[in-house]
């Protein structure tokens, strides 16, 4: 089947998944114990204020009758699927959700990007190295380190590293090393790196009016500890899976055949071993991208980074319904999209996998 046809088909099949995801979020928000009115007005609100707010938020009609859940649901869905995300209720009342998300997005993307890249850049070569020298001392050190790194829970590692970075900690020198920046909190360098955005004050990655190397370095230095923590688990996974994949591939008959052809071993490793080892690594690498969604929360909290993860948590606790709905909507779409990308990549990496429904 044509890749394009497949893509369209998968996109259409993804729609029900997105709908299901946001429906569940809606039900949990509206049927759960959260009460936005209470959060917004506090305990001493007068009944009249409460009534006014309920009308304003769309819970009741002006005549006092409750708006049926079904109607609220339909209106919410209509707004979501027309990308009309509305204004925040709690986090920053009457500010548009889009501008709030856009303001936090760069920090999370910057964190997520580096956590994926650092894990890839260290994990894949380390796994390759360990696999090529399997059962030697250097393999034991590498894969042992990988297992240890994998075993340390994110939240624990985050607290340990954040702690040792503060004054008096083992890594306190890191703050004074190179460009000066604090590592806890959100660095100004990130904003400076992005520069003023043409879109009404909304900073957007990719629109970099001033790609100042100094700013980028500073922003990198700032995010490095957090990115290491966030990428730690996937790095360990990549080392272990990469090692196994390489060991399996390097002992295969086609590698022996390639040697018999007179190929240099570097070429054999890069071309014949590498490509085959990539097949089991693909889901591990793709799985990392989900870190951008779920994993960032803890790390953002510990490192006090003003990102989407921490905002998601605050929005949920504060019952900021439009914000939670919008973020959930975006996250579900990202997840579905990555799944489709992964399936397409499979067919690129491994020609034995066919997009056709019927196998020969």
């Amino acid at each position: 089947m044509n890749r394009l046809v497949y893509l369209v088909k998968r996109l259409l099949l993804g729609l029900p998944v997105v709908l299901f995801g946001v429906t569940m979020t809606f039900l949990i928000l509206y049927l759960g114990p959260l009460d936005p009115v209470n959060t917004i007005l506090g305990r001493d609100a007068t009944p009249e204020d409460v009534r006014q707010l309920r009308i304003a938020l769309g819970y009741i009609y002006p005549n006092g009758d409750p708006v049926p859940l079904w109607d609220q649901y339909l209106m919410t869905m209509r707004d979501l699927f027309t990308f009309n995300f509305g204004n925040s209720w709690v986090i920053q009342r009457n500010t548009s959700v889009v501008s709030l998300i856009a303001a936090r997005m760069p920090a999370t993307l910057w964190l997520g990007w580096w956590s994926v890249v650092i894990a890839l850049v260290i994990g894949i070569p380390a796994g390759l190295f360990a696999g090529l020298r399997s059962n030697t001392m250097s393999d034991y050190l590498t894969s042992g380190g990988g297992i240890l790194w994998r075993a340390m829970p994110n939240f624990w590692l985050a607290v340990m590293i954040a702690g040792s970075l503060t004054a008096g900690g083992a890594f306190s020198w890191y703050r004074d090393f190179g460009p000066s920046t604090d590592v806890i909190g959100t660095s100004d360098a990130l904003g400076a790196m992005l520069g003023p955005s043409p879109f009404a004050g909304i900073p957007v990655l990719g629109v970099i009016p001033d790609p100042n190397l100094g700013n980028i370095l500073t922003a990198f230095k700032w995010i490095l500890p957090a990115a290491l923590v966030l990428g730690s688990a996937s790095m360990g996974n990549e080392i272990r899976i990469g090692r196994t994949a390489v060991m399996e591939s390097k002992n295969s008959k086609y590698v022996e055949t390639a040697k018999a052809k007179g190929l240099a071993s570097r070429r054999i490793i890069l071309k014949h071993v590498g490509r085959n080892a990539l097949i089991p690594l693909l889901p591990v690498i793709m799985g990392e991208f989900y870190l951008l969604i779920g994993g960032a929360l803890l790390v953002e909290l510990v490192f006090a980074i003003n990102g989407l993860g921490s905002m998601f948590l605050r929005a949920t606790i504060g019952a900021d319904v439009p914000m939670v709905m919008a973020l959930a909507f975006i996250f579900v779409i990202i997840t579905v999209a990555f799944n489709i990308v992964q399936d397409l990549l499979y067919t690129v990496v491994d020609p034995r996998i066919s997009l056709e429904a019927t196998e020969r």
Partner: protein, 359 residues
């Protein structure tokens, strides 16, 4: 040590002398190939035949320089290819020999092609590395190679992946890939074992044709006596890491001398009279883990006598023309047991070993 007389006409393509390949394990050192010697002359097909575990494939890998730790080709072994000593080459130097000098076709075509690259890609890779062909020239050469191994619709099949080929087609593609290296000498390690009988016959025929066309020398390894009879000019019979009989193919089948060879030939279905059960050789190939100071076949040998357990047999002439030799204390024929044994004892030069049994 027999001296090799240089002969203009039949200068061997490959001369293996006292090849010893050992594998070190925690408990013992396994002598997978224990001091074998043979030669292959231009255009000749030499067969190596033996049971599983007799050291056939290790011999092939030793020649290709593909023996890896914990395996090791002992330093007093000698493998000369066109006069060049291979055992002393570095890995980079060996890469020059592999492919363009010596090619190898492996047993399982299913696994000897990389599943993620097209057939064309893998053939063109061999062309580029060994013949420096690139681009359109490489593609055309690849097509003509696939045609020469009788793959129909070669231009289209070039862009297909190995899983889109049938088993026989895959082995043809592997052979084409090895021919792309343009070797002088081809090692075939059980190339037909994984294929069914009709395909097997086609592949053997193909190898025969290619050999005539390209003047290839072939080392053909198999456990199948029928295949050997069809393809080989000379046959070396291996047992537990040693060659125990070596003969031109006709002499071997007409007049097998070593009790083991007789046993092998007797175990081919269809050789016995009606109603008689198929004969077998009792027992298994022993793991050769110590120096051979006795005949390794003695425990299974129907003709063994006391001396077999105490004297290592040396190769003696059994055909009268120095072409047919066997390592067995039963020969030379017509002598008394005592003279035979002392003859072997005098031939058996103690090898300069790593020290365990030195005087």
């Amino acid at each position: 040590m027999q001296s090799v007389e240089p002969d203009e006409e039949t200068e061997p393509v490959l001369a293996v002398e006292d090849l010893q390949t050992v594998f070190h394990t925690d408990r013992e050192t396994i002598r997978a190939v224990d001091g074998i010697s043979f030669e292959i002359r231009p255009g000749e097909t030499v067969g190596i035949v033996g049971e599983s575990g007799s050291g056939k494939s290790v011999t092939a890998r030793s020649i290709m320089g593909l023996v890896e730790s914990p395996g090791e080709v002992r330093s007093d072994s000698s493998i000369r290819f066109n006069g060049q000593e291979l055992t002393e080459l570095s890995d980079t130097e060996y890469n020059e020999i592999r492919g363009s000098g010596i090619g190898m076709v492996f047993q399982d075509p299913q696994q000897s092609l990389n599943p993620v690259y097209t057939i064309g890609n893998q053939i063109r890779e061999a062309l580029r590395v060994n013949q420096g062909l690139r681009g359109e020239a490489a593609r055309e050469e690849a097509i003509s190679l696939l045609e020469s191994v009788a793959i129909p619709d070669a231009a289209r099949r070039l862009d297909e992946y190995p899983h889109e080929f049938s088993g026989g087609m895959r082995q043809r593609a592997v052979i084409a890939m090895m021919l792309a290296c343009d070797p002088e000498f081809l090692i075939c390690d059980e190339p037909t074992t994984a294929l069914d009988v009709t395909i097997q016959a086609q592949i053997l025929e193909l190898l025969d044709e290619l050999q005539a066309e390209r003047d290839l020398s072939i080392l053909f390894i198999t456990h199948d006596m029928g295949v050997i009879a069809e393809i080989a000019d000379r046959v070396n019979v291996m047992y537990a890491g040693q060659i125990i009989e070596s003969a031109p193919v006709d002499a071997l089948f007409a007049n097998p001398k070593h009790p083991y060879t007789r046993g092998l030939l007797g175990a081919i279905p269809g050789q016995q009279a009606d109603g008689e059960p198929l004969r077998t050789i009792e027992g298994d190939v022993p793991t050769p883990n110590e120096e051979a100071t006795y005949c390794r076949f003695a425990p299974r040998c129907p003709d063994a006598f006391d001396a077999c357990n105490a004297v290592a047999p040396a190769h003696v002439d059994v055909g009268g023309d120095a072409e047919h030799t066997a390592a067995c204390l039963l020969y030379p024929d017509g002598e008394t047991e005592e003279t035979r044994v002392s003859h072997h004892q005098s031939l058996g030069t103690p090898r300069d070993d790593t020290g365990e049994t030195n005087e």
